[in-house]
């Protein structure tokens, strides 16, 4: 009897009809309401501290100045090397209040007090060279210049970190006799 039931079309018709009626009672699906936004920003980092040194010699006095030829502002310092037979006397340019632009530290370097902005030049540091006549034919006076990018504290106060210096040395050669 069971086999006959399963073969009966009417039976199956009744099963399908029941299934359709039951499916009517299933509720439709609902989506949750959402929204979103986004935004982006950023800037390029420009690095590249580079300076050029200018040395004019007049009456046995070297006039030293530096020009910022890089892409970022920097602090600069210089150091002068010479033989023991040479005495050098330094004179720094001063500002309107009489404050020297160049100051010598115990490490032998002369530090420029202001930030050297891009494409600007420093004030002059004069190095007066004195020696015995015997040595005036040929002598070496070497000027080393160094620059370091300006760094900033959180409040925007600038400072120089000379441990992170970028050094650019001048040409090393024989200095001709005074002009």
């Amino acid at each position: 009897m069971k086999k006959n039931l399963l073969k009966n079309k009417t039976f199956w018709l009744a099963v399908v009809a029941s299934g359709l009626c039951l499916s009517v009672s299933v509720p439709s699906a609902m989506a949750y309401f959402t929204t979103y936004v986004q935004a982006e920003g950023g800037y390029e980092i420009t690095l590249g501290s580079e300076t050029e040194i200018h040395e004019d010699v007049k009456d046995m006095t070297k006039e030293i100045s530096l020009t910022n030829t890089g892409e970022t502002d920097c602090y600069v310092r210089v150091k002068v090397f010479s033989g023991s037979q040479i005495d050098i006397t330094y004179t720094s340019a001063v500002d309107g209040n009489g404050n020297a632009y160049w100051t010598k530290n115990d490490d032998g370097y002369w530090y420029y007090s202001e930030i050297l902005k891009v494409n600007s030049s420093s004030e002059i540091l004069k190095a007066k060279i004195e020696m015995d006549e015997d040595f005036k034919e040929s002598f070496n006076v070497i000027v080393v210049q160094e620059c370091t990018p300006v760094q900033y504290h959180e409040d925007g106060t600038p400072y120089a970190d000379w441990n992170a210096k970028v050094d650019t040395k001048t040409d090393i050669g024989v200095q001709e006799a005074a002009q």
């Binding site: 009517v24 936004v37 935004a39 420009t46």
Partner: protein
């Protein structure tokens, strides 16, 4: 199957048919009532969700990007802005490494229904060619978090991505507290150099190249908002996150 053809069988089938008819009829009636009720409810509660990303710099407070449902025809009012556009006005339009620029990000409910919100922050570097610079850590882009109410999802946050949830219901027109206060680019990026020494015309020269000259940092913020109705399920469905919802509506990550 003889009983089906008998009078008894016919009677049984007739009764079943009638029962089926009745059931379908009752269902239809319920559907009609439900249809009208849900439609009315949807117009009042489920539409007009909206959210806005707000940025405060040293210059001003601005709505950066927004997306608000208009209430009809699946149309949205959207605005799209850019982050950090005023940032360098603090420093003569030059990026200063190490400086803490004011950068306060918050979220406003610009819709007409209450919502929950979350923010995902992405930080990255690209090189001069526009490709991702993988040798630079995103942690050098320091967006300082305020921790004033925002929940940090530490499990899903990385060096590059930070995920934050506002735990309370954001009511209509309300703005969250800022999730950040400053943005700083670490100055150590300027210390990485490569030096080359060579001899030219009898003169020894040393040149220094800054390894990261020309790289660009990127800061991106994505804000998601979801309805408060059925919060637990809605957040799970929309954000894939399990939360506990307190009686006052406050959510907490499980």
């Amino acid at each position: 199957m003889k009983w089906l053809r008998s009078k008894k069988g016919t009677l049984i089938l007739t009764c079943v048919a009638c029962a089926l008819l009745l059931m379908s009829g009752i269902g239809s009636t319920r559907a009609a009532l439900t249809y009208f009720s849900e439609n009315y409810t949807a117009q009042v509660e489920m539409k007009d969700i909206g959210v806005t990303l707000v940025e405060t710099s040293a210059q001003s407070t601005k709505d950066i990007s927004s997306r608000d449902y208009t209430g009809s025809d699946d149309a949205w009012d959207t605005t799209q802005g850019e982050l950090l556009s005023d940032m360098l006005e603090e420093s003569d339009n030059k990026l200063q490494l190490g400086r803490a620029y004011r950068e306060e990000l918050s979220v406003k409910n610009s819709g007409t229904i209450n919502e929950y919100v979350r923010v995902r922050i992405y930080k990255s570097w690209t090189n001069a060619d526009g490709e991702k610079e993988t040798s630079l850590s995103p942690s050098l882009i320091v967006l300082n978090l305020t921790n004033n109410g925002w929940i940090l999802d530490e499990e899903n946050s990385t060096e590059e991505r930070t995920v934050l949830y506002w735990p309370s219901i954001l009511t209509v027109g309300e703005t969250t507290k800022p999730l950040s206060d400053t943005l700083t680019i670490d100055s150590s990026i300027g210390n990485k150099v490569t030096k080359e020494t060579f001899v030219e015309d009898g003169v020894t020269k040393t040149t220094t190249k800054f390894n990261y000259d020309g790289v660009k940092f990127h800061l991106k913020a994505e804000v998601d908002a979801v309805q408060t109705h059925n919060a637990k399920d809605a957040i799970k469905s929309a954000w894939g996150v399990d939360v506990n919802v307190a009686s006052d509506g406050t959510i907490a990550l499980q």
